[in-house]
Symmetry: C2
Subunit: 194 residues, 2 copies
Amino acid sequence: MQNQRKTQIIEVAQKLIRANGYHATGMRDVAKALGIEAPSLYNHIESKHAILEETCFELAAQFITALAEVNDIYFNAEEKLRTAIYNHINILTENLDAAYVFIHEWKNLTEPKQQEFMRLRDEYEAGFREIISTGISEGVFKESDKKFAALTILSSLNWIIEWYKPSGSMTPKEIAAKLSDFILSGLTKEKIYN
Amino acid sequence: MQNQRKTQIIEVAQKLIRANGYHATGMRDVAKALGIEAPSLYNHIESKHAILEETCFELAAQFITALAEVNDIYFNAEEKLRTAIYNHINILTENLDAAYVFIHEWKNLTEPKQQEFMRLRDEYEAGFREIISTGISEGVFKESDKKFAALTILSSLNWIIEWYKPSGSMTPKEIAAKLSDFILSGLTKEKIYN
DNA sequence: CCTACCGATCGGTAGG
DNA sequence: CCTACCGATCGGTAGG
């Protein structure tokens, strides 16, 4: 199956892009890592740019699907947020290389695609804002700027790929629990319990 | 003074790098934005790479200096953290283009310099960990993984450059206050006050 | 999957 | 500050 080779090429490319950046990664580097010559890559992929597009949109789809499931299954805002955070971290840690491309290299998408990508990204962020809204009307979350809170949550989630190591001591589940607690209850101790 | 031209070149380069990335920004682009020819740039700067180095280290110095001042002036952990957050946001928003380079393009530094940069970055993070430690021993902050908390705080701070617009409705001071509250007290409402 | 090779563009130098 | 130009490298094609 040619398709397996294609997958292999894309995965190697993602890994190199994460290590060195999109522009700094040449097709000759990708080929070398696979033990073939650069022109041979083009029997399986259309272009370097197509790898970028596929990676960005594949991950966007995963994020959006996961969030839709959360909204289907849970009703309680805190459960929704905890599960959404867990899912997000799971997708990131299962696809570290692709996630790097998704987060940092989407700017290299060209114009019809970049607009489309930004729309999907905003749709996902809107899902988080929606959960926060639900929590506020349930009286569980503080009144706060939804957009601001959603951005702050996603930023602390996305930063994970900068320091997460599969060989490290924390599992994605533990990271999710810790980060959820941090986000949900904050750094300060309740003075009441002192 | 030649030095003014140099500053001008670096600022234009930072702006273009933020918009398009380090590798995607050519010296010809920088020259064009200044209305001169590319070779003329080299009368004022040594190389493209030197711009990257100067930008990264200049900002690192600003961050570290600001944090040292906080530790000199304040004793209380909450005040320290609030001020450190405010200073960090101030440096980011006053140097948006340079901050982008500092945060995203330091990976393009080459080897002796990259190590040195990472050391400075870690020194700065250690300062935040130290403040959190102080807060824990003061009984103001919850017992929590210091490294994890520091990373999460810095990630939500650094994400600001992705969405901050000087023309937007929030001033850096307001962002700092809001983010400090968010970090210090968390999203969930104290059920006790319900 | 390869060899041979392309047009374009890159950072940078020589020399004025 | 310019013109002229360099060696290297890029993504990708032709043809097998």
